[in-house]
């Protein structure tokens, strides 16, 4: 146990969020510093353009500030909530601009660095490693469809166009990939 020299650094996420909402200078700065690289990372993953990603990331923080009162910690962490906001805004932005063909994102680009990756505070490293392994174990066409949909914001129809496959096949690939990952993430059942 220790008192903190810079006390707000160790504050729980939801307390920093409350500080942001109330306009407290120190807590607002701490909130932005704590989450900016995650927020910007999600925006970059979807948009791939630093200028657009910054605009979306700024909007995400603004939305968090405006809507902090609806955050419910029983439904998930601040990180999950904030990255969901960011992702929705990035999807909206990508919808507005979509014209050029989308480069399929490299799998390793999505999967991150490894056990020291961004999930360390929000997802147990063991669970993240399992998830990464499960993604790598997917058939390549399923992994690609999942990446295009989950990270680049392509609908099944757009995935179908990008991959040159029927829409039904694109839907099946996305769904099958997600169901497989869900099975990996679910708590292991012990012997009955």
């Amino acid at each position: 146990m220790a008192w903190r020299a810079r006390p707000v650094d160790g504050f729980p996420d939801d307390l920093l969020l409350a500080g942001l909402a109330s306009g407290d200078a120190e807590l607002s700065v701490a909130f932005v510093r704590r989450f900016q690289s995650r927020v910007f990372g999600v925006a970059m993953a979807v948009l791939g353009d630093p200028c657009q990603a910054e605009d979306v990331a700024q909007q995400a923080f603004e939305r968090a500030w405006r809507h902090a009162a609806v955050f419910d910690p029983r439904r998930g962490s601040v990180t999950t909530w904030l990255t969901a906001i960011t992702h929705h805004l990035a999807i909206d932005a990508v919808r507005a601009r979509r014209a050029a063909p989308v480069d399929p994102m490299a799998l390793e680009e999505v999967l991150g660095a490894g056990p020291d990756g961004p999930e360390r505070a929000t997802l147990a490293a063991e669970s993240a490693a399992e998830l990464r392994a499960a993604i790598r174990a997917l058939p390549a066409e399923q992994a690609r469809a999942l990446v295009l949909a989950a990270f680049r914001g392509l609908t099944a129809r757009e995935v179908a166009e990008s991959e040159g496959i029927p829409v039904g096949t694109a839907k099946t690939r996305i769904r099958t990939a997600m169901v497989r990952l869900a099975a990996v993430l679910e708590p292991k059942r012990g012997p009955s």
Binding site: M1, A2, W3, R4, P7, G10, F11, P12, D13, D14, L15, A18, G19, A21, S22, G23, D24, A25, V29, V32, Q36, S37, R38, V39, F40, G41, V42, P50, A53, E54, A57, Q58, F61, E62, W65, R74, G76, T79, T80, T83, A84, H87, H88, I91, L111, G112, P118, A128, L131, A149, A150, T155, A156, K171, I174, R175, M178, A182, L185, E186
Partner: protein, 209 residues
């Protein structure tokens, strides 16, 4: 609700969970989910996958000046105030209460669903601070104290029987001070803060989330 509705929902659930569904299709699925708990569970399961996937995205440092631009965008923030004293709810509670009005923060005996609980730190019958505990992180105490005299403070975390579970010192500069402190699990029942001369300047119970 029909089997055909569930089949249709099953087809669209991944895109809904990924936030990709819009317009009529989204409305159609949401209407079905209202009446179909199994499909609702399925969408929640897939949405959980999306949450986990986002957590894998590598963090990327934004361009220089991002922090300042965000703070400018959300309006002027106020510097921390030095409060002359504590009301019935301390500055800490007021701070979070302003943002989470309606039970976001609760006293120890009310609003069991609130994500944070607070208990007062007292000096005699004077309210001089608060201890806050987040339900999401019950081993972390946020301690707020109105410090009248700068100097070294000793903070003891006490068990139910009054014995000291943990102790530490802090050099306070005065005014409204607040710090985080990790608590050794359930062992701690109360907090006692003393000045350099050993005089108790604040004490109170640790709230239970």
């Amino acid at each position: 609700m029909t089997g055909a509705d569930c089949t249709r929902c099953r087809e669209l659930a991944p895109e809904l969970a990924l936030g990709l569904l819009g317009g009529h299709e989204r409305a159609e699925v949401l209407a079905h989910l209202e009446a179909c708990p199994p499909c609702r569970d399925e969408v929640a399961r897939l949405a959980g996958v999306h949450d986990r996937l986002r957590a894998l995205v590598p963090p990327v440092e934004p361009p220089a000046g991002f922090e300042e631009r965000v703070l400018r965008r959300i309006g002027p923030v106020r510097p921390r105030r030095r409060l002359p004293g504590w009301g019935r709810i301390a500055a800490a509670a007021a701070l979070v209460g302003a943002a989470f009005a309606g039970g976001w923060i609760a006293g120890t005996t009310t609003a069991p669903a609130a994500p944070m609980v607070a208990a007062p730190l007292l000096m005699g019958d004077r309210h001089v601070g608060d201890v806050l505990v987040s339900r999401s992180r019950p081993d972390f105490l946020s301690v707020y104290l109105d410090v009248t005299q700068p100097g070294r403070l000793t903070c003891d975390l006490l068990r139910q029987d009054g014995t000291v579970a943990a102790s530490t010192v802090y050099d306070a500069s005065g005014g409204t001070e607040w710090w985080g402190v990790e608590s050794p699990a359930d062992a701690v029942a109360s907090v006692r803060i003393a000045d350099a001369a050993g005089g108790v300047v604040a004490s109170g119970e640790v709230p239970r989330p």
